[in-house]
Amino acid sequence: MRGYAFQRLALGAAQLALLAVLVFALTALLPGDAADVRNNEDATDAQVAALREQLGLDRPAVERFTDWAAGLPTGDFGTSLVSGGPVRDILADTVGTTLVLGAVTLAVVLPVAVLLGVASGLREGGRLDRTVTSVTLALNAVPDFVLALLLVAGLSLKLGLLPATWVGVEAGDLLAEPALLVLPVTVVAARVVCLLSRQVRAGVVSVLGAGYVVQARRLGVPRRTLLLRHVLPNAAVPGIQELARVGDNLVGGVLIVEAVFAVPGVATALVRAVEARDVPTVQGLALVVAVAALLFSLAADLLCHRLVPRTEVLR
């Protein structure tokens, strides 16, 4: 398993290198550069040219890229073309907030999805199963931003139960005021729970029907043992694999949530950096997101292996 992990990490490093080149090339394809975007429309050509030179944008693209890449091994993510400060500072400012949001969401998603999935899977076709299925299907069809606006309108503006935005919130306030997290986490979690619980349910249903479970039951293995030792681990695998796969839903959800609730996180920073043609910042943020996705999917695969060592995850 360790070998597998190393192999995956090596592959991941190659993927990251490719991604860095791609992101750089794609950003270069956008119309205009940081000097164009940053200057006001009254700026003279001379002012724009001076700024371009000051930012080093007049140097060949390959040179700029290799300079940036050369700094990476030492943890130097380069200098923002907008703030003039290290990109590392921007990452430090934004990554923490998004991590908290993501971690809390995950902590909510997993137990809820597993519980719903198992409960409905155990009584396939029962009333609970039908209710869960229809609710998750319906919820899954509601776009994230609509859900966000509905929740804010109802719970915050109408009833005044929860904060409507993170306006004025300092990074340290988050854990002191957990109420701030409720709505954003609910919105991001909603769709992921829908997708996951259905996978878990399907897993439970198929495992329950599998020959070895039927045989074990016939042999009188207690229901609880059967459930915990055999059904759950096997049913969880498709769920976890699905979780690794719905990363894009998580990212998309976080993006929308950050906009609606004025959360100063990675997604907002990334959109702004792209708009500003702040290439080093775009690359820094893209790398951080990519590393997170990579580790996340690796962790999911390793977990699957641990739960069901015989499955083919090791390929």
Binding site: V37, D42, S83, G85, I90, G160, T165, V167, A262, T268
Partner: protein
């Protein structure tokens, strides 16, 4: 999310308009409070103001400010020599009064007694230092560099006591108004580090983190009496989040609200919308240096084709007034006596027929850089079709639209606002203007502008500017179809704040607000 879009809008808009109410706020607390619900001003409290953010782009360097959120922050920390009132006319701030020599090449400003946050009194040397800093050729992002390049630094001097004498390279009757524009705040001669602002403003900086937060506290020694609230927070949030925060009581002020928000909260007693009537300008521009718009008959025909009422109803959701093909409705020097242009498809068709351009296809380059651009372009294309013209609308990149528009399409979308009429003419309609959206280049116009700008007699100057505007109205490539209202909102606890066009003295001004 799209701050740069917003910044562009803002830069394009330096302007103001009607809204005489805005003026009441400077009549002292009494005048203000009546408008907002009465009561004696009270000290204390925390005031949270929300703007579209700019992430790392945000700055509190008053000379590099470019976003509305920057300007709100620098306005709290610094003062300008001069500010602009709701008609874009200059009013005294740190300069108590000013006068010029006969040909407007030397200006004497008498400074008020004011203290910087570090205890140093305001002196002429600070003003000279400020100009030198703005004009520093190495400073590529100093906004007012172009505008103030008229200053002759070498010949400017402290003229004894609290008088500073500013020499200009050419006669400029509008010089005081130039000092009321973006990027002109006065800093202390000890100012070196933007992170430690040395200003005379009503608030003193506590903390600032670009893209994140800004907290300032009341500066009790402010020359204008100081602020009422203890603490000012100027924060970033997108339009929806601004609205939600206001309604949920999580903020006291929201800048640049949408017409949709204004309609939604009509019955909501917790929020008040402050609408400055017709504050900015929306236009379709035709490039006068390109066929067929090199013929003024053709530009006139297009102006006659626009159904302005419908554009205002649809694109601005009715929250605005129709335009008359001139910039600056409601501002100082606007010729109000020019008859309103109305739709006349028959006349337009006749003109187009005469010019031989019926049944043509023309390209209109637009983008979603400003709200309403694409909608207005599309609607206008439909209106032009009534005369047998095909207008092909192309949508381009938001981030570089204002640069691209100069080279793409024979028509384009244009939006402008908060700047004085002379500034608009200077920046947009001279042969040398960097951003000449309608490619209007006429030597006689340039010369007439130079004359107007150096005319010290105000009545005569008004007449000359009026004539320039009329020329643009008759022959130019600007189809100014509407002036949208400028919408801000406050929570119902807020007193001492009224509708104000952007970039004017009372826009996003927080030293006179108090919480009931």
């Amino acid at each position: 999310m799209s701050i740069f879009r917003n910044r562009r809008e803002f830069l394009a808009l330096t302007g103001a308009a009607a809204g005489g109410i805005a003026l009441t706020a400077c009549g002292g607390p009494g005048a203000t409070d009546e408008a907002a619900g009465g009561g004696e001003p009270r000290r204390g409290g925390r005031f949270r103001a929300l703007f579209t953010g700019g992430g790392e782009q945000e700055t509190i360097d008053p000379h590099a400010e470019s976003l509305a959120i920057d300007m709100a922050r620098t306005k709290a920390l610094f003062d300008r020599l001069v500010e602009l009132d709701a008609t874009m006319a200059p009013v005294p701030r740190l300069a108590a009064k000013w006068e010029s020599n006969a040909d407007a090449t030397v200006w004497r400003f008498t400074l008020r007694e004011a203290l910087f946050h570090d205890g140093k009194p305001l002196a002429p040397e600070d003003v000279l230092f400020t100009f030198a800093r703005i004009l520093d050729p190495k400073a590529t992002t100093h906004f007012a560099q172009g505008l103030l390049s008229v200053i002759d630094l070498k010949k400017s001097r402290a003229a004894g006591g609290n008088v500073v004498e500013v020499a200009l390279k050419r006669p400029t009757a509008e010089f005081p108004a130039l000092l009321g524009t973006l990027g002109t705040a006065v800093v202390s001669s000890r100012y070196a580090d933007p992170a430690r602002p040395a200003g005379t403003g009503a608030f003193r900086l506590k903390t600032f983190q670009a893209g994140r937060s800004f907290v300032a506290e009341r500066f009790d020694d402010h020359w204008d009496g100081g602020a009422y609230v203890d603490e000012l927070h100027v924060l970033a949030a997108d339009a929806d989040a601004r609205g939600n925060a206001l309604r949920a009581g999580e903020a006291e002020f929201g800048y640049e609200m949408t017409p949709t928000f204004a309609r939604t909260v009509q019955a909501d007693r917790s929020v008040r919308v402050l609408a400055a009537k017709g504050s900015t300008a929306h236009a379709i521009v035709m490039k006068c240096d390109q066929e067929p718009f090199d013929d003024p008959d053709v530009t006139l025909a297009f102006k006659l084709l626009a159904d302005r009422e419908k554009l205002v109803q649809v694109v601005l959701a009715g929250q605005g007034v129709v335009g008359n093909d001139m910039f600056g409705k409601g501002y100082q020097y606007y010729p109000e006596d020019v008859p309103q242009r109305t739709r006349d498809v028959e006349e337009a068709r006749a003109l187009l027929k005469k010019a031989g351009v019926l049944n043509r296809t023309l390209s209109l380059y637009t983008s979603s850089v400003a709200n309403g651009f694409v909608e207005a372009a599309t609607l206008f294309a439909e209106q032009a079709a009534d005369a047998g013209l095909r207008v092909k609308v192309t949508t381009g990149s938001s981030e570089t639209y204002f640069k691209d528009q100069l080279t793409k399409g024979v028509m384009g979308s244009h939006r402008s606002g908060a700047m004085t009429i002379p500034n608009y003419l200077n920046d947009r309609l001279l042969s040398t203007s960097a951003f000449n959206a309608s490619a209007w280049r006429r030597k006689d116009f340039d010369a007439a502008f130079a004359t107007a700008r150096s005319t010290t007699d105000e009545a005569e100057r008004t007449r000359l500017y009026g004539r320039l505007q009329r020329t643009v109205h008759d022959e130019g490539g600007l189809l100014v179809w509407g002036h949208p209202d400028w919408l801000n909102a406050v929570s119902s606890r807020v007193r001492g704040m009224d509708a104000a066009p952007p970039n004017t003295l009372h826009s996003a001004r927080f030293d006179k607000v108090w919480l009931a």
